[in-house]
């Protein structure tokens, strides 16, 4: 009976760890996609060439940098609380 309980808990921990890893990977993967995009199409990053006569909006809104920013915000703002709640719920089960 005890061994069965231990096995069940180990399975739950593995499941938890997979969810943990998947959620933790979303932000860095998004930021990586933005970085790759910036390398493939550097002309989309107008900051690299600010004297070219770009207007305010083209200097303020640069798609690859926005993708990196979203990845970072998601990772540092959403994920920590979510992982804490996930661990809390898993521990109660």
């Amino acid at each position: 009976m005890d061994a069965e309980l231990v096995r069940e808990r180990a399975r739950a921990r593995t499941r938890h760890s997979r969810r943990n890893t998947a959620v933790s990977a979303l932000g860095p993967l998004t930021a990586l996609a933005g970085l790759i995009w910036a390398l493939v199409q550097p002309y989309r990053v107008t900051l690299l060439d600010p004297d070219h006569g770009h207007g305010f909006w083209y200097l303020a809104i640069q798609p690859p940098l926005l993708v990196i920013l979203v990845g970072a915000i998601f990772h540092f703002w959403v994920v920590p609380g979510l992982l804490a709640d996930l661990e809390d719920v898993e521990e109660r089960r």
């Binding site: 915000i73 959403v78 994920v79 609380g81 979510l82 709640d85």
Partner: protein, 192 residues
């Protein structure tokens, strides 16, 4: 100081990307964990409502024809309806699950609006291609949300719902005011 149309699309794309990541995270951890904090609970319906609201200035400042304007107006209304209904469902003010159907309605109307107001063929220009692609993506999203209505806990439909938003973000980030698509750009669209 009005931003160019492509910049507006990139700003919407940023919002869709964040929302898509949040919906994907909700699918991974489960609704029970996701809804443990109230700001997370209200994030998706609140954003849907806000996007509907922001569609009004888009309609006023960025539409160039009557059909374009009507499409954006109808679209704004259904997005606000879906967002408001979802907010009320989460809050518990609405209890009838049939209100969930406002979501497939909003996506179907959004898809229809894209497809009806884009009167040029797919390869006319990049903007035309993206209008067609976004329209069909929204219609696929409507089918997925109908599935979600029937089976709210289905990981397939929940993942599909999140992926629809990530697809929206990707397509909107690809938008340019005048640009070729797969080497095609009609002279009528501005090709030199």
């Amino acid at each position: 100081m009005t931003p160019p149309a492509e910049v507006v699309h990139w700003m919407f794309a940023t919002g869709f990307l964040f929302l898509g990541l949040c919906l994907l995270a909700e699918t991974i951890v489960g609704r029970e964990v996701w809804r443990r904090r109230s700001w997370r609970k209200y994030l998706w319906p609140g954003t849907a409502f806000l996007m509907g609201l922001l569609m009004w200035p888009v309609m006023v400042f960025f539409t160039s024809s009557a059909i374009h304007m009507l499409a954006h107006g109808v679209w704004a209304q259904t997005m606000m309806l879906a967002g408001a209904a979802q907010l009320a469902l989460v809050r518990g003010k609405l209890r009838n699950p049939l209100w969930e159907l406002t979501l497939p309605l909003a996506l179907a109307v959004s898809g229809g609006a894209f497809l009806i107001h884009e009167q040029n063929p797919w390869l006319f220009s990049r903007a035309a291609f993206l209008h067609h692609a976004l329209g069909w993506t929204a219609l696929v999203g409507a089918v997925i949300t109908l599935g979600l209505f029937a089976r709210p806990r289905s990981p397939v439909f929940n993942t599909g719902f999140a992926l629809v938003f990530l697809a929206f973000a990707t397509l909107l980030f690809c938008d340019r005011n005048v640009a070729p698509i797969f080497g095609h750009l009609s002279p009528l669209a501005g090709a030199k």
